[in-house]
């Protein structure tokens, strides 16, 4: 389902951009208000509810022992899924994830996996036979723009609260899941040659291009994705990467570092 945005509204937003403004008064590199509530789903091994502006994303972590993948017999398994449930937006339809939902899940996964935030070798119980499986389940509750960054934030926030349920499976005492890095995704959009971070829902619908940068605690990049039908010059990409890493650092320090 698509909805038509009026030309009047597009012009209105363009004109604001020419004046250096955004509809909600933010500056181009400003994020909306973020709140992270942890441990909201007690039954899950870990969980976090992220609010980014009016967007709301709930991430739950479940863990259980299982068989390793044949090509990595001594490593734990991470399985990331995102449900863009119809409750969250008039544009979401019931059914299995479409390409947008799958892309979102794979990006959240990329951040966790490539940053090596979770030591998969340490999740091996019996080499070749039994490893811990971590399910990262992203549940979108309210799409008011940039649910990707919210989901990525939710995933790492939930992992930071996760307790490995060893006792339940007779594998010893429960312990906190060791998390070695805090990957943060920061998304920028481009339209009319202007770059802005953390797009709201209207901004997303008029943007030509989107670039998501996932960065680690040490400032290195561990994931990236360009989406949309527009183009970006290398200078624009470098600029986005610089601002994104700075923003990610701010967000990391404010919300996730204990």
């Amino acid at each position: 389902m698509t909805s038509v945005i009026s030309e009047i509204k597009k012009d209105f937003l363009y004109n604001l951009v020419l004046k250096g403004e955004r509809a909600d008064g933010r500056s181009f590199d400003q994020y909306r208000e973020i709140s992270i509530e942890r441990d909201v789903i007690r039954k899950a091994e870990g969980s976090a509810l992220v609010k980014l502006g009016l967007s709301q994303v709930l991430v739950g972590i479940k863990m259980q022992p299982g068989e390793p993948f044949p090509d990595s017999p001594n490593r734990g398994v991470i399985i990331t899924n995102a449900e863009l449930v119809p409750l969250a937006s008039p544009m979401f339809e019931p059914g299995p994830p479409n390409e947008v939902g799958i892309e979102l899940a794979r990006l959240v996964d990329r951040g966790v996996r490539e940053s090596k935030a979770v030591n998969l070798e340490a999740l091996c119980v019996v080499p070749g036979k039994q490893v811990w499986i971590i399910f990262i389940d992203v549940h979108i509750l309210d799409d008011c723009g940039n649910i990707l960054d919210a989901a990525s934030l939710g995933a790492i926030a939930a992992l930071l609260t996760t307790k490995v349920p060893a006792n339940k499976f007779g594998l010893g005492e429960d312990y906190m899941l060791p998390v070695r890095d805090i990957p943060i995704a920061t998304t920028a959009i481009e339209f009319n040659d202007v770059l802005m971070l953390d797009p709201g829902i209207d901004e997303e619908s008029i943007a030509n291009t989107k670039l998501t940068v996932i960065s680690s605690t040490d400032g290195s990049i561990c994931g990236m994705q360009k989406s949309g039908t527009g183009t970006l010059k290398p200078e624009q990409i470098y600029r986005i990467v610089d601002i994104a890493c700075e923003k990610a650092k701010e967000i990391r320090e404010k919300f996730l570092e204990v």
Partner: protein
């Protein structure tokens, strides 16, 4: 998982249930109206350990078009459980249970919705179970009714839902997880405040007398829940209502 035998648990101790409730007591309930920005109406509910959110979209255009009814709005209800909502991670997507729950829940609400006001449209109700603790369908219906009101859908009355069960040969109100898993019967109902029943299901085994007692108890529970739904809605309006003092208008800048 370590298997539990129902004989291992004693469901009553000093006349109180495992969570300290009396036979006819509801679990603590919390409701919040209008928690989502995109949805036309919404309600978040906690009933015991259940955490459920309901959203309503509509009336809106029907897709696919061939489902349209020229004389009235169709009502759709989709009950869904988040993967992390249950003890053992659930594969995403509907299963046979959720199809059945969706159907009976829709039939619990449809009798009071004035669908003839909106031909060729659909009223979509979406219920997401974020954490499950026995009684998710009743929590879903309670939240859905409030979400429908919040969306401005015309209804002849509210709908309230509650379950009764039987454990250790005793009829209890609003069974919790252990009582539901190892109990002898489960009877969820939904009704209008006048006592018109719009949903009734039962599994287990009850004598006719026990059945009467369970229905009576569940109906009283639903009546109490109706008062809470009403209060949640009225309270929200009063928050928005607050007539500003003269000073507040001047400060508006």
């Amino acid at each position: 998982m370590i298997a539990m035998d129902e004989t291992d648990i004693s469901f009553f101790k000093d006349g109180l249930r495992l969570d300290g409730r009396r036979e006819d007591q509801l679990r603590p309930i919390k409701m919040e109206v209008g928690v989502l920005a995109r949805a036309d109406g919404s309600c978040y509910i906690e009933m015991g350990g259940n955490k459920v959110i309901a959203a309503v979209y509509g009336p809106r255009e029907v897709h696919p078009r061939h489902l349209q009814d020229v004389t009235r709005a169709i009502v759709r209800y989709r009950y869904n459980m988040a993967s992390f909502s249950v003890e053992e991670r659930k594969r995403p997507g509907p299963d046979r249970r959720s199809y059945e729950l969706s159907k009976v829940s829709r039939e619990a609400l449809e009798p009071v919705i004035l669908t003839n006001y909106f031909p060729r449209s659909v009223i979509d109700v979406f219920v997401e179970v974020l954490q499950a603790d026995a009684g998710t369908r009743t929590a879903g219906i309670n939240a859905a009714a409030v979400a429908l009101a919040d969306a401005g859908i015309p209804m002849k009355s509210m709908i309230s839902s509650c379950a009764a069960g039987k454990v250790a040969d005793t009829i209890v109100l609003d069974p919790m997880k252990e009582e539901d898993n190892f109990g002898q019967a489960d009877l969820p109902i939904a009704m209008t405040p006048n006592g018109d029943i719009t949903l009734m299901q039962m599994d287990g085994r009850l004598s006719i007398d026990e059945f009467h007692k369970a229905v009576e108890m569940a109906m009283k529970g639903a009546q109490d829940i109706y008062q809470m739904q009403r209060k949640a809605l009225v309270d929200k309006y009063s928050q928005l209502e607050g007539e500003p003092h003269r000073e507040e208008v001047q400060a508006c800048d």
